[in-house]
Amino acid sequence: MLKVEELSVRYGKAVIVDRLSFSVDEGEWLMIAGPNGAGKSTTLKAVMQSVPSRGRILFEGEDIRKKSPRRLAQCVGMMLQSHLAEYAFSVEEVVDMGRYCRRGRFGREEEEDRRAVNEALALTGLEKIRRQSVLTLSGGELQRTFLAQIFAQDPRLLLLDEPANHLDLPYQKQVFGLIRDWLKKPGRAAVSVVHDLSLVKAYGTKALLMDHGRASSQGSIPQVMTPQNLESVYGMDVYGWMNEMLGQWKMPIPTAERELPEAYPYR
């Protein structure tokens, strides 16, 4: 679906992404991991055309740079790392903005748009706070609002820049589950940047480990997530540390997984 060849991004003289190649096919969820400053987020931005880049970026064999912004948004949706709201838009107004690329120049609100917005709100559990101002939301609710916006936008490829940011554990689980369900429909794929390596193992179908703008290793999860690969990128014994932490976790292990309360009182 997405094929990136020899992608390079520079800011002035600094090379942020260096001749990176990767591809994502239908049904796949590519996890991009790596240390801070490895060029992970920049890679997503380059695909989204928000930073100038060199190299080929093909969506279904078509050059992504030749697509109009509106056409691009119909194919690829991107969720950002963080949003700071400034104006008191309601949750549903922000979600409705996702329909922009589906409307004409003087687009009226059609039945289809309304249905897509309602569905996205329902999926992300925001129905109860749909009329609430985004200024009053918690970080997790804000993050889900923008996830709902993307669902309403209905692209074929999802780019997620640290979707677990701002989210406490139950919501991390919920958001990742939502994306996994979203991927089950044919003709969809996702690429996400994540820091939490356990999320890579749990949800990814393949992984790309980046270091200094290059692909240090990529392929299936077991192929990439070896102790040697991780140590070469992070410069530390990741497995050893993980085991140490999980060892501590064995004592008070919460047995039953907590159900999400309907109105989650986290603010």
Binding site: P69, A73, F89
Partner: protein
């Protein structure tokens, strides 16, 4: 909470229009000579009748005060207010910055500098004999915006509210002092400095009103048509890009339209500050932040606000008249502090 519609409903629009019309009537009636509403409406009826060739032009002092002096002035004030408020709302959305306005960004001062240059150096455009001042003011307004935004981008990518305002204020002082220098040297040809720094719409005529109305229709129309795009920008420029807005084109369009509105207003009425800052902020409390509702409400609200400010400027020290910008700045500065304080407190 009730669901906000995507556009102003008919009753809402009628409400805003009724307020604006009422303010307009009030401002025509009131002044150093008070004319009762009935008499004013009679003058309106007769004059319009005369225009249509149905009646004689009404004679008398009251009729000429109302029809030849006050009405053109009030119309100019109304359209100026609408234009400045619209430009302010558009820039606040585009930059995701509730403090943005022609005066805080230094665009008005830039436009004034352009107008003063055009008069002092006799800049005219072939084919546009009377529009030299206006076109130069618009061009200077646009260049000011470009300078301020590129300086701000140079300092920080995210274009944070404070950076933009800081650079805007510095630029504004710089442009104002250049304007003062030129006015001092060419005092015989240029209106007094206070006109360019504080604004005045006394002595406006119907031609001015027509020019302002055309600019409002053209540039304002460009802004009205970009409501959805401005919504996306108001959430964030990256957000706009992600949902498929042509970011470069829309940004250019809004910057051109805002410069056009501000430039024309400044060349007719001088710098009238804070209208574009205060109005959207107050209107947003009623209409919400959705620009498809906010923009028309702002235009009507800005017209009402400036007409009232103009009335205050005429009436407070009657028979001495204050520059209109004094009144708007008095109100605006206070509101500015409140907004700034609140936004900083929220963090």
């Amino acid at each position: 909470m009730k669901r906000r519609t995507d556009r102003l409903s008919v009753p809402e629009l009628a409400g805003f229009s009724a307020v604006t019309l009422a303010v307009l009537c009030l401002c025509v009636c009131m002044g150093s000579v008070k004319v009762p509403l009935g008499a004013t409406l009679a003058v309106f009826r007769d004059e319009i009748g005369a225009l249509l060739g149905l009646a004689e032009r009404p004679a008398g002092l009251e009729a000429s005060i109302i029809w030849s002096v006050r009405l053109p002035r009030v119309l100019c004030v109304a359209v100026t207010g609408a234009s400045l408020a619209l430009a302010g709302a558009a820039m606040q959305g585009l930059l995701k910055n509730p403090l943005a306005d022609g005066s805080t960004l230094g665009v008005s001062s830039g436009a004034a500098l352009g107008a003063v240059c055009a008069i002092a150096f006799g800049i005219t455009f072939p084919g546009l004999p009377f529009a030299g001042t206006m076109v130069t003011a618009v061009i200077f307004a646009f260049l000011s915006l470009l300078v301020i935004l590129s300086l701000a981008y140079g300092l920080d990518d995210s274009l944070s509210a404070n950076t933009v305002i800081l650079i805007g204020v510095i630029f504004s002082m710089f442009a104002s002092s250049l304007t003062s220098i030129i006015v001092t040297f060419a005092a015989d040809r240029i209106r007094h400095i206070t006109f360019w720094t504080m604004g005045s719409l006394s002595g406006s005529n119907y031609r001015n009103a027509l020019v302002l109305a055309i600019s409002f229709a053209v540039f304002g129309g460009m802004i009205f048509a970009s409501g959805r795009e401005l919504n996306a920008f108001a959430v964030g420029e990256e957000n706009a890009r992600n949902i498929g807005v042509n970011v470069r084109r829309v940004r250019l369009l809004i910057l051109v339209a805002a410069s056009g509105l501000i430039g024309v207003c400044v060349s007719v009425g001088g710098c009238i500050g804070f209208v574009g800052l205060v109005t959207p902020h107050i209107v947003r409390m009623v209409s919400g932040p959705n620009h498809r509702r906010l923009l028309p409400a702002c235009a009507l609200g800005g017209a009402s606000f400036l007409m009232l400010a103009d009335l205050a400027a005429r009436m407070i020290l009657n028979p001495v008249e204050l520059p209109i910008g004094v009144v708007t700045s008095l109100v605006g500065a206070v509101v500015f502090v409140v907004i700034f304080y609140r936004s900083r407190k929220r963090g």
